[in-house]
């Protein structure tokens, strides 16, 4: 049976949804790596959920930082240190505005989403989760939003509970609500699923948790590149994301936390910058956000992240979202209707991710054949092994889109899948 027939396709007629002002070719010019040839073919980069490519402005920001601004921040009275400190704090303000936080001091720079979630688990979590308590996550989490909580639960004798999803990859909201119990001390959920593309009804989920006085930690790694995030509008207590998935450099990420929560939390790591005074008898911790930023931070990374946000703002997140939605709808139609293709993750609300399997051909073989055509996709479990188990598959092929992708690249993917059929015929 062709599994494709069973796949619900929302829009059978695939008309371009994007307004004429969105000039994807103009955007592509900003990304030097897109001129790469792979095995004699133009690179078709569809692995954006793993990491996005970087525009020239971000690359330039890194170079500019080291060429003209490098000095340690919050320390020196000299000229360069002041310039570097100012640029660093300007970037923090830009991140605040980007996710609409109330205060710049609620923006903590981390190495990425993973570190941000670990920070919350090891500080807020260790204070508030005790023996017999529960931490609630969902069935579609990335390993980085499972393992830190598992470690915490193991240490404290607490229990990790998992809210289930349906066969489309949508969270079962009623089940989620039922699992919010008197012992639930933290809820940790992804905004957008990395393996399935599902956009969770986050605002509703947060409201349900708050009705029972439970704070919510959001893994926003896959959301921030694709949709406008408003942490106050969502009423998120913590919101974590990474720079490298939103056109920024690797090694830099953000934890947003509500000020009152952050102030009450113990520090995560000890060291320089997170203190206001140190004696061998006692250390007074620095105020927010520095309390959570021990050691010399990734200052170049922060400069790159600022450039990435400027780049996204320059295009307009709404336009990026509309363009990616167009690509997703188109890809769902043309890939989903190929013989033997079964889409994994068919939620009504999705962003940027097309995960699929092919009858009789393992994703790893598909990945190798597509690579020979210059097409970069992710094959594997996408750091979400429980999701794979839920769907009874070892792995999927995942194509994920960014602002610079085109319908022509989706067509190249279709040709690549036909090539797979040829090889395995």
């Amino acid at each position: 049976m062709s599994a494709a027939a069973a796949v619900p396709i929302r829009e059978r007629v695939v008309k371009p949804l994007v307004d004429a002002q969105f000039d994807v070719e103009k955007i592509r010019v900003d990304f030097p790596i897109l001129r790469t040839k792979v095995h004699g073919h133009p690179l078709v980069y569809l692995d954006n959920a793993a990491t996005s490519q970087k525009p020239q402005a971000v690359i330039d920001a890194l170079v500019r930082y080291y060429e003209g601004e490098n000095a340690n921040i919050h320390r020196g009275v000299h000229y360069l240190s002041q310039i570097a400190t100012e640029a660093f704090e300007q970037a923090r303000e830009m991140v605040r505005a980007f996710v609409n936080a109330a205060h710049a001091s609620e923006i903590i720079f981390t190495r990425g989403t993973t570190e941000a979630i670990n920070l919350v688990a090891q500080t807020y979590g260790r204070v508030h989760v005790g023996a017999g308590d529960e931490v609630l996550i969902t069935a579609m989490e990335h390993h980085s939003n499972i393992v830190p909580w598992q470690m915490l639960c193991e240490e404290k004798g607490a229990k990790l509970r998992v809210a289930p999803m349906n066969d489309a990859g949508e969270l079962l909201l009623e089940e989620f609500e039922k699992l919010l119990g008197p012992r639930t001390k933290v809820v940790a959920v992804s905004h957008v699923s990395n393996a399935l593309g599902t956009i969770n009804p986050l605002k509703q989920m947060i409201a349900l948790a708050h009705a029972k006085g439970i704070p919510v930690v959001v893994d926003g790694a896959q959301a921030v590149p694709h949709l406008a995030v408003d942490v106050q509008g969502l009423d998120a207590d913590f919101y974590a994301f990474s720079g490298h998935k939103m056109y920024g450099p690797t090694g830099i990420g953000v934890l947003y936390g509500k000020r009152a929560l952050l102030e009450a939390m113990p520090p995560y790591q000890g060291g320089g910058d997170m203190i206001s005074s140190v004696t061998f008898e006692k250390t007074i911790y620095n105020k927010l956000p520095h309390k959570f930023e021990a050691g010399t931070p990734d200052m170049a990374g922060v400069a790159g992240l600022k450039a990435a946000i400027e780049h996204m703002n320059g295009i307009g997140i709404g336009k990026i979202a509309a363009h990616e939605h167009d690509l997703l709808v188109y890809a769902t139609e043309v890939v989903g209707s190929l013989p033997g293709v079964r889409l994994i993750g068919t939620a009504r609300e999705k962003a940027s991710v097309l995960s699929f399997v092919l009858d009789e051909v393992h994703p790893h073989d598909i990945g190798t054949i597509l690579d020979q055509e210059g097409i970069a996709v992710r094959t594997g479990h996408h750091c979400a092994q429980p999701v794979m188990e839920r769907f009874g598959i070892p792995a999927t092929v995942r194509a994920s889109f960014a602002a610079y992708n085109t319908r022509a690249e989706v067509d190249a993917l279709v040709r690549g899948i036909r090539k797979v059929h040829e090889v395995f015929a």
Binding site: H39, G40, H362, H364, D365, G380, Q385, P394, A395, F424
Partner: protein, 148 residues
């Protein structure tokens, strides 16, 4: 440039679709499980050893075409061999797929169809998973082997 046909040779595709000795052995006195966390490939190798000799071999599991075909052809090539002989074949096979040496290709017989794997370094683990599992079974190791 590496050619896809060098990797996906007819013999390999045929074995991946219809693997030989694809069964659990009721009388197995040694078995081991192998796992490649990168792609989720998972195989169990069953051995009926007669002293030092592999009297019967079977495998079961799930994986990509390369790993499945490699497992299938491995069972054919080591059946009736001694432990030392099987280990020697693995050694030669490993040299071949990692591209370290093609000089003993003739010694490998049918297994030489895997020579194209050396052009695809990320697929070496696929080609060797069943062999690592066999090695573990021969050693009588109980724990799961991983290619990572």
């Amino acid at each position: 440039m590496p050619e896809l046909r060098d990797l996906y040779q007819e013999v390999i595709l045929e074995h991946s679709k219809a693997p030989r000795n694809y069964k659990a052995l009721a009388g197995a006195n040694y078995k081991a499980e192998g796992y490649n966390p990168l792609c989720g490939d998972r195989f169990t190798v069953y051995l009926e050893m007669d002293g030092d000799k592999i009297r019967e071999i079977g495998f079961q599991g799930a994986g990509c075409a390369i790993s499945k075909a490699s497992a299938s052809m491995m069972t054919q090539s080591v059946k009736g061999k001694t432990k030392a002989e099987a280990e020697h074949i693995f050694h030669r096979f490993h040299e071949l797929v990692t591209g370290r040496s093609h000089e003993h290709e003739a010694e490998l017989g049918k297994l030489a169809v895997f020579s194209g794997v050396s052009e695809f370094p990320v697929r070496v683990k696929c080609a060797t998973l069943a062999w690592h599992t066999l090695e573990a079974a021969l050693e009588g190791k109980q724990e799961k082997v991983s290619t990572e």
